[in-house]
Symmetry: D2
Subunit: 365 residues, 4 copies
């Protein structure tokens, strides 16, 4: 038997034994730096809004099909309904008078409101009113339902760690028993009144915060004022806020950082690359981002994905607020986060692995 | 030589060798439960205010005598100027137009304003405006000076961990170089604008918070609203807030918890005993506290000490806010904190060690 | 246009916009409990050993094909060379006199030696001798090469968090520059001498441990003695050890718990289900495991996978040691870990979601 | 009334009100750097040993006088039986056949054996055998008794955080009920068998370690070997080990670091000053230490105190092991720890605050 025949037979035997030779991996398992399958991609608001509205006309909310949600399906991810390998992004549409019934699940979720008034989400009995620009949390294993008491629809952005939790094969799900909606206990927005203080917590709150953030709503007027202050202090072209669990100062969800960035027109941000992916929602304004050398023009309501290790910079043509979710807390938890700022002298287009010394100024954190 | 003579000579030799026999300790080093030397004590506002004003007339602020401060000297502590073994409490008086020059020290301090307007404390360059009911932090090793630009004096409560840091022989102190006052950088109240958000932090703030709380001011209007919300949610007779470092959810100073408690008239709180001491300042209202069986009547501006392991309950005759500093974070850091709630059936006067089983419902934390 | 036509057109438009309707997901994204694609599977040592030896004869180690590794390819994972969604398991074969050249990567790895002597792995300059039953760490971003100075091959089990880090798109990789092998600094097994004490650490070691475990080798004689002691103390049928980072008491790698379990013949362990997957290597002994109702017989050298939320129990017919890697630290980091012990009365075969109340005794951790 | 009369009356009124003017503090509350009352001091073994033996002859162990202990009374601490403001050091003598009955207390203790064999300390039911050079822990609120089953006495060093816990007014104490001695459960030295592994912990041990270190004994042969390895790796003149809680890598007791330092003859260590105090026990060897310019000669069994912020260096004339307890964990917990290494060029005698820039290379930790 020739060596080739021997090899052939060997590889057949290996495959039959449910093994794979590392040296023949088709897929490049160990690239010099991340080579994401996730693609930089942008979804336009006019398309999202129109399709959400058509869904509102065509699809009723009923048991078994609880949520009227169109999810961002990144073209790099093989047909999965995921924006990135760790993050779910979607548009949810709740028509006038509609309610989405109660359930809970181990994936954690955030809701960032884009349009509408008169809606509340009940989270473990606490009715959280929703207004444009507000952020609402429905953390891991909290009961939640959505209720529209107004004459107009509400449209919001859904962000979840679902792709990660699916990958970890750790999804649990339950319908709320018997009735579709939870009873609301007391006045609306209890969490904001109790845990939304400025450096203030009820005595004993730290213990509660171990399970998840006890603060469930973050208001647009607060982020707006905080970004103004940051801008006055630090100057442009961009400043950023993180929404945090007030009992720990940590990210709003343990798996997901929620951020709001304000851009002033004109300046262009320094190109940066980061390990980990993010989904960005243009809350207001207009401008463009260059991701791995490709320019994406955006305006209010548009959503786009920044893959891991992509070189990215932003430039606004109007005063702009960008809301973003990222998986940075996951990477940081395991010593995998890394961020490199690229100065102008570096040739960053085309050869993304050049000019970045791993022992250089971009440090592991 | 008789046994007695032998023993006598032995004890002489032991003493000469700078040793002490454990079995002859005069002081009860190992009591069944804490037997504090610290005494429950109350200082009345009318006395404090009058003496502070006389100090304002008689004593000028100048280099070498930087601060016009009258410290609470607990009669149990052998003439030391300390409210408790770990906590310093004092009244500070700053006359119209006066400035207290800059310095820094390793003991951390808080200022809780009782009277006056038009004053600011500059902390590492950030001018923090002070109003009645506000809390201002000057943490470990931060430069600080106080400036009165108004026509009336300001009087505030000073709380420090100085007795603890003195005991640890860890006090460092520096005068601000050259000029008496730090330059103020930018607009006043920078820390409140940047770190006083409702569940919001500037991206990267967590790193800053490791040194000390980046939030330096806590406003009366915020505590007032938060206590209203807590009361509506939890009911009386008492609810409590903690002032926290927003980057960690931990206490405002690592050594000292700052709290504000609201009492509604009528109800009496359940008697409780806690390991660790506290200094209480009556911000508004009137009522009484029973501490180890002794009743203390108080009204606005009064200050009192609760020693470690004392049985205490409170009752308000008017709507009341009690500000307090405690050393609980120190005890918790070392597994020494404990809290026991005493129900009405227990005989708690006189024999404080009865009726409290160490393995019972009052748990070590 | 009929409703059906409208719907059809709508779904076309949605797909064209790179969106997906949640209510039409083919894949069950939100099952009541984990429904892993990962399959329970067993690879037999006789097959693994024979194929590894054939690989040794047929495949040389050279630049570009650094490692002679046959990876466990779970049949449920669509042809990927992964044992589970988070864990890589493999057999590595290093022939007499061979060296596998230096490189480093962000995925962390462990080596558990099955056969051979006279080999060492150099990790950041520290040559770690390898003997059967030893565990060797090559953590995230540490340089490592393998060297066989003996006349016989060595075979070991490779465990990595590679599938997780690939999924997170966070893989970095570098070849060791210029020469294939790192210089060895000083005597072999430096980490064991410095950090392998019994409750002892060099002053200052905690700081070093933040990057990764400074202890890189764990010896068979130590685990053997520790399991004997555990068994004497706790009794059978099974006891378990965890290999830890001595500067934190945490898992050997931040993403991966390494454990060694000893089974005494006869008894059967209580069935349990856990969130998260594991790869088990039979170091010595023989017996069987029942996983989701399917019995797997095993003996020394066999390797098998336990998927997330599978019901599993073990029974030994000979004194047995099972080495295992699990992704529990990842699940615990995000509040996703859960473990339920099933008593005999429960019907656990077939309907794996019955008899397990989520609010019941199996608690979220 | 003259100004002097007014001032006099004012100060009288202030004192009568239990207040003290900060500007008249006799005691320098805020020195530029620590000015400890604690004095550098040395107790000689020949004196300690002789007095301990005389105590053994004169004083019986019985209920009410449980422990035959001579405590180091630092001459700077006003007659208190304390070595430093936070640390208790003492010699304990247990005669042949004697037992010291069971009790527990919130102050944590360590025992470092100087002489004798055949003794065990039972800690929560685990009998811990004691040999020269071993360290035994009796942590916060663990039951413990001591038993000498040999024909010769044992003498050991007792280290406690008692002065700190007394100062915090947090001492609780209980006699062991009914019988004087706890029943011993199982074989001796259970904690060493279960938790004394080399990087190994029983599965689930981390949870147990939250209360206190589950490892209660640290053996001389292990420290000896570890110091040899450190010396071989790092070179002299001095290397140091810390005894740690294996479930956290933290100090053996939360309030107290236990360390063992090996000095090789000849070299002199670099002078250093540290915030916080320590008690040093010369386990073997001979040499001298210069503390704040004063030379202390020592040999085996001697004990000495290093006060906070003292400049200290050591020089051995024989191979030397120095055991030490320090309060560094307390200072680190509150951001108060600091360490400065002084190079030879610095004038360090007499003016201890010169040449040490607070923003210089000696960093706050």
């Amino acid at each position: 038997m020739s060596v080739d025949q021997e090899l052939e037979r060997f590889y057949e035997d290996v495959a039959r034994a449910d093994l794979q030779p590392l040296w023949r991996q088709q897929r490049n398992l160990m690239p010099r730096h991340p080579l994401p399958e996730t693609r930089a991609w942008l979804w336009q608001w006019k398309t999202l809004r129109a399709l959400a509205e058509r869904a509102g006309e065509l699809i009723s909310i009923e048991r078994g099909g609880d949520r009227r949600v169109l999810s961002l399906a990144n073209p790099g991810l093989g047909g999965q309904p995921f924006a990135t390998p760790t993050l779910w992004g979607a548009v949810q549409y709740l028509g006038p008078g509609e309610s989405a019934p109660g359930h809970r699940h181990t994936p954690g979720a955030i809701r960032f409101v884009l349009e509408g008034e008169g809606v509340y989400t009940t989270v473990d009995g606490d009715a959280c009113d929703m207004h444009p620009g507000d952020l609402i949390l429905t953390p891991n294993w909290t009961w939640h339902d959505h209720n529209n008491r107004a004459d107009a629809p509400m449209v919001w952005f859904d962000g979840l760690d679902l792709p990660l939790v699916v990958h970890l094969e750790a999804v649990f799900f339950q319908q709320y028993p018997d009735d579709v909606l939870q009873p609301v206990t007391g006045e609306h927005n209890r969490s904001a009144r109790l845990f939304g203080g400025r450096g203030l917590l009820p005595v004993g709150a730290r213990e509660q915060g171990r399970r998840h953030s006890p603060l469930l709503v973050y208001r647009r007027e607060d982020t707006d004022a905080a970004l103004d202050a940051l801008l006055a202090e630090q100057g442009g072209p961009m400043v950023g806020l993180e929404y945090v669990n007030p009992t720990s100062g940590g990210p709003a969800l343990p798996t997901m950082s929620c951020e709001l960035h304000r851009l002033v027109p004109g300046g262009r941000t320094t190109p940066v690359r980061r390990v980990g992916s993010s989904v960005v929602v243009v809350y207001q304004g207009a401008g463009s981002s260059v991701i791995n050398g490709q320019r994406f023009e955006w305006s209010a309501g548009d959503m786009f994905v920044i893959p891991s290790w992509a070189v990215v910079d932003h430039q606004a043509s109007e005063p702009t607020d960008l809301f973003a979710i990222t998986d940075r807390p996951v990477l940081e938890a395991f010593g995998l986060y890394r961020e490199v700022t690229l100065d102008g002298a570096q040739e960053v287009t085309g050869q993304f692995d050049r000019g970045v010394e791993l022992s250089g100024p971009g440090r592991w954190s």
